[in-house]
């Protein structure tokens, strides 16, 4: 028995020595690796791009180029979660019509950082969605391609709203991308409550003409006991919320915040301060809930569906929810106020989303690959090979306006949307008019720090709620934001 025990102990000892030797080597390797990584510079190494193995044959003619070549590597289109089935449908059409291999993938989570990471590392990203304030930064960094170089550029320019082309123009040259839809935040009504307040069916003339009118009507609604807090502002903490709403109200007062050199045009005696004062009045008189600052877009929509609010600033297409009887208590009673309340009634239909393609030069693409990319974006953003607008598929399932007058003025679309109960015919016409007459805020043309001014640390999103809660004064906020804008401009120039 003793020998057996010795044997097992001897074996253990041998095994142990082997393991220890291996362990020491491993620890040394790991320790060395850790030291190496800790002294690494912060930029990650880019991954190699795939180079096509076949060169394309090109026959150039006067009326166009008939290109052929391999349909590899696949074209990667990253989208955020918005009507992905339509996008996939359009991609299937594109693949079928062009013998292509495009792929759509939905990015959930922090869209910006995922896309930026892919752009920086040049990995599998050909076309993306983007908001204008994001896209400007990506364009400046050289990650996006100007759509000018597309073969159908001039056709699209003739077809699209002129203000879109204007908005997309960048100071260093080129155009940013093409919109996949247009439209902005508008004032929605709850005609059920408005009718109770007026004692009769509301008409368009009863709608507020200025933001003070909104305030007064809300006061009246509260006084009459119709609602505890009649106004639901779009104050939620994402780009489409407070930053969007503050622009809407400023523009409607004629305040465009920045001039074409991106210098601030606002100060304590300008409409910007008036907007904040107007908002503060809502809060001080208990006419709007301050918890809106910490809510989400989905909750904001559902909140207005409760029918407890008289007015709300929401995206124009959200009438889809407000007039749906399975979703809303005021179905059929919600309308869009036109013209936009405010001194000048200026609406700036901030483009909701853009198609953007990644930079062909930056990604080392040859002529054929570049051609594939432009073919992709022009299919989605404009017409497919059969001459049909690809975006028509959106308008069949959702009331979203497009960048082309012919699409928004199509009576078939209007009939469809009205028949589905999403909005009235007047709403359709009015919103189309608002989109047609959109102004172009100069700050959208190439200012890479606008988003930071809006939602960065110490920016609009941080300070405005503090004004509302009384922590800082309106004037102090305006001057701080003005100083911040100047700082940011200096920082990035």
């Amino acid at each position: 028995m003793t020998e057996k025990k010795q044997e097992t102990q001897d074996i253990s000892r041998r095994k142990y020595l082997k393991y220890v030797a291996a362990g020491v080597v491993a620890v040394a390797a790991v320790g060395g690796g850790a030291y190496y990584y800790s002294t690494m510079p912060p930029t990650p190494a880019p991954t190699a791009t795939a180079t096509p193995t076949m060169t394309a044959t090109a026959t150039a003619t006067e009326t166009g180029t008939t290109f052929t070549g391999p349909n590899q590597p696949p074209l990667y289109f990253d989208i955020w979660l918005a009507l992905p089935d339509i996008v996939k449908m359009n991609m299937d059409n594109f693949n079928a019509q062009n013998n292509e291999t495009g792929q759509v993938s939905v990015v959930s989570g922090d869209y910006t950082s995922v896309v930026e990471t892919k752009l920086i590392s040049k990995s599998k990203i050909d076309m993306v969605f983007g908001t204008p304030v994001q896209a400007v930064r990506w364009y400046k960094a050289g990650w996006l391609n100007s759509v000018d170089e597309g073969p159908h550029y001039s056709d699209i320019v003739k077809d699209i709203y002129p203000w879109v082309v204007d908005l997309m123009e960048q100071p260093q040259g080129g155009h940013l991308g093409w919109p996949y839809f247009v439209g902005g935040d508008v004032l929605h009504t709850n005609d059920k409550m408005l009718g109770q307040m007026l004692g009769r069916t509301p008409e368009a003339s009863d709608y507020p003409k200025t933001w003070d009118d909104v305030l007064n009507q809300c006061r009246e609604a509260k006084q009459k006991g119709l609602s505890n807090q009649p106004f639901l502002p779009e104050w939620y903490a994402w780009l489409g919320g407070l930053p969007s709403y503050i622009q809407v109200q400023c523009y409607s007062e004629g305040e465009f915040l920045f001039d074409k050199n991106f210098d601030p045009t606002f100060d304590v005696n300008t409409p910007f301060a008036d907007v904040l004062t107007n908002w503060k009045a809502f809060v001080d008189e208990g006419l709007a809930p301050t918890s809106e600052f910490a809510t989400t877009e989905a909750e904001h929509i559902a909140a207005f569906c409760t029918g407890k609010y008289l007015y709300s600033v929401q995206r124009d297409y959200d009438c889809y929810s407000f007039n749906d009887p399975t979703k809303s208590k005021m179905a059929g009673y919600s309308h869009i106020v036109y013209p936009m309340p405010g001194r000048t009634h200026d609406a700036a239909a901030l483009i909701g989303g853009l198609f953007l393609i990644s930079n062909n030069k930056f990604f080392d693409r040859d002529a054929w690959q570049s051609f594939r990319h432009f073919r992709l974006i022009e299919h989605f953003a404009w017409k497919d090979k059969n001459g049909n607008y690809a975006a028509k598929n959106y308008q069949n399932v959702f009331p979203v306006w497009m960048g082309y007058p012919s699409m928004n003025n199509d009576p078939a679309t209007r009939a469809l949307w009205v028949s589905k109960g999403w909005m009235s015919a007047d709403d359709f016409d009015n919103n189309t008019k608002m989109i047609e007459g959109t102004k172009v805020p100069p700050v959208y043309k190439g200012c890479i720090w606008f988003q930071e001014w809006l939602i960065g640390s110490g920016g609009v999103n941080d300070l405005v709620p503090q004004v509302m809660s009384g922590k800082i004064k309106v004037d102090e906020c305006v001057t701080t934001l003005r100083a911040l804008a100047v700082d940011l401009k200096n920082k990035y120039s």
């Binding site: 690796g33 912060p42 709620p465």
Partner: protein
């Protein structure tokens, strides 16, 4: 036959053998981020502006003098104190309750642990639905009970931090409760009977008999909840994104903002190390206070 000395050595060696995979793995994955982030905190690394210069303690000075840090520190402390006090008191209460015999005790005990098993982000979604000012369930409940007359906002700039703290307490309490329950179950029953015979009332019985047995779990729960509450990010992230404005921008959220929103890695890292220093300091204080030998 080898002597006793040999056996002890190879026991220890055997122990090393067993833990080597752990050590190797942990070294690589914990030492490296610690070293890297400390190194970064000494540079003005900013991915957007593409800077990466050694700046010594400049980041730390900025951290200590910035008003955002002060705001976040204050919020973190309020959050921590609310959570720790509530969850410890509630936890002890739950443990005491579950220590008693009653019909359905097993069921209650099983269900009580659920909030802890539910992820923080799910809690955030649930409690957002409860606190909602337009259609929330808390509003509905309070109004039906007649406690309030109108729907009201809970996640306001003034009270958001408390609202979030309550949600976090709901999530976190069961863990402490089970620690306490474990200790309670170690208390010998005859000590209670003895105390009853000696005429001690309920609270006195608790203070004299139960409390000494709970000292240990009390320390663990207190320290654990301080550390967790100061690092809690998920709940705030999903529920309020830093709150109305910056009203729930606790320190971890500020670190997130500095690191990712403005891509100032250096600043974010220095803020993170400051937070760690705070956590270590508080933990040490608690440890010393609560392990005093009597």
């Amino acid at each position: 036959m080898r002597g006793k000395g040999y056996r002890r050595v190879s026991d220890a060696s055997y122990a090393y053998l067993l833990i080597i995979p752990l050590i190797i793995f942990e070294l690589g994955l914990t030492v490296y981020p610690l070293v890297y982030s400390f190194w970064t905190s000494l540079h003005n690394t900013n991915l957007a502006a593409n800077t990466d210069k050694y700046v010594g303690l400049a980041n730390y000075i900025h951290v200590f003098t910035s008003s955002a840090t002060l705001n976040s520190l204050q919020l973190s402390l309020v959050f921590m104190i609310t959570v720790v006090i509530s969850s410890v008191l509630l936890g002890i209460g739950i443990a005491l309750l579950l220590n008693e015999e009653f019909v359905g005790r097993g069921l209650v005990r099983a269900l009580v642990l659920l909030p802890w098993a539910i992820a923080e982000y799910s809690c955030a979604i649930m409690w957002s639905g409860i606190y909602n000012q337009s259609y929330g369930f808390l509003n509905g409940l309070l109004m039906q009970l007649g406690i309030i007359r109108e729907y009201t906002s809970f996640v306001t700039p003034a009270y958001a931090i408390y609202a979030v703290a309550i949600a976090y307490t709901w999530h976190y309490t069961p863990l402490g409760a089970f620690f306490f329950l474990g200790s309670l179950q170690a208390v010998p029953q005859d000590l209670y009977s003895q105390a009853k015979i000696d005429g001690a009332k309920v609270f006195r019985r608790f203070w004299v008999v139960t409390r000494p047995f709970m000292r240990h779990s009390f320390m663990i729960v207190a320290i654990l909840s301080v550390v967790q509450a100061l690092q809690a990010l998920d709940l705030v992230f999903v529920m309020t994104f830093g709150g109305p404005g910056v009203a729930t921008q606790v320190l971890p959220y500020l670190v997130y903002r500095e690191t990712f929103a403005t891509m100032s890695l250096g600043l974010g890292a220095s803020l993170a190390w400051t937070l760690s220093a705070l956590i270590i300091a508080l933990t040490t204080v608690l440890f010393v206070l609560l392990t005093r030998r009597r």
